[in-house]
Symmetry: C2
Subunit: 83 residues, 2 copies
């Protein structure tokens, strides 16, 4: 079976996010001062061949831990859907 | 009212994604050959002060169009939630 995973990798809350801070500042210059606390991370979509949703879940977990996220500075969440 | 927006900005399907291609290749080396078609974009979370969900929606739309996404190469989707 084929599954689609949608993964969000975000900087942890305690970690300063300079890219997000810069964008928050730019919002003011664009007349969007109502927008604040911008944080920027990665969104990753991928396809997995697996026998079950459980197996796809484990593979995605493994990919996040070993390659996609730096667990010292980032946290991840994901959703899996059969396609 | 305060709203939280979760925005995904992804490279368009017709656009080559070299970072995603590189990660797809690395998956094989990690013993995760079942994973393919990796695409990498940005995930942005932000807070908005707005009078209604409709107003927050419009502000987010404006932020995406004018700053967060390059509409030639990228497409965006977002969800808004009252907090």
């Amino acid at each position: 079976m084929k599954f689609q995973a949608e993964i969000d990798v975000m900087p942890k809350k305690e970690i300063l996010d300079p890219q997000g801070k810069a964008v928050t500042g730019s919002m003011k210059n664009l007349g969007l001062a109502e927008i604040h606390n911008v944080r920027i991370g990665k969104h990753i979509s991928l396809e997995i061949e697996a026998e079950s949703e459980q197996a796809a879940h484990e593979k995605t977990e493994q990919a996040c831990k070993s390659l996609l996220a730096n667990l010292i500075m980032e946290s991840y969440t994901f959703k899996i859907q059969a396609v």
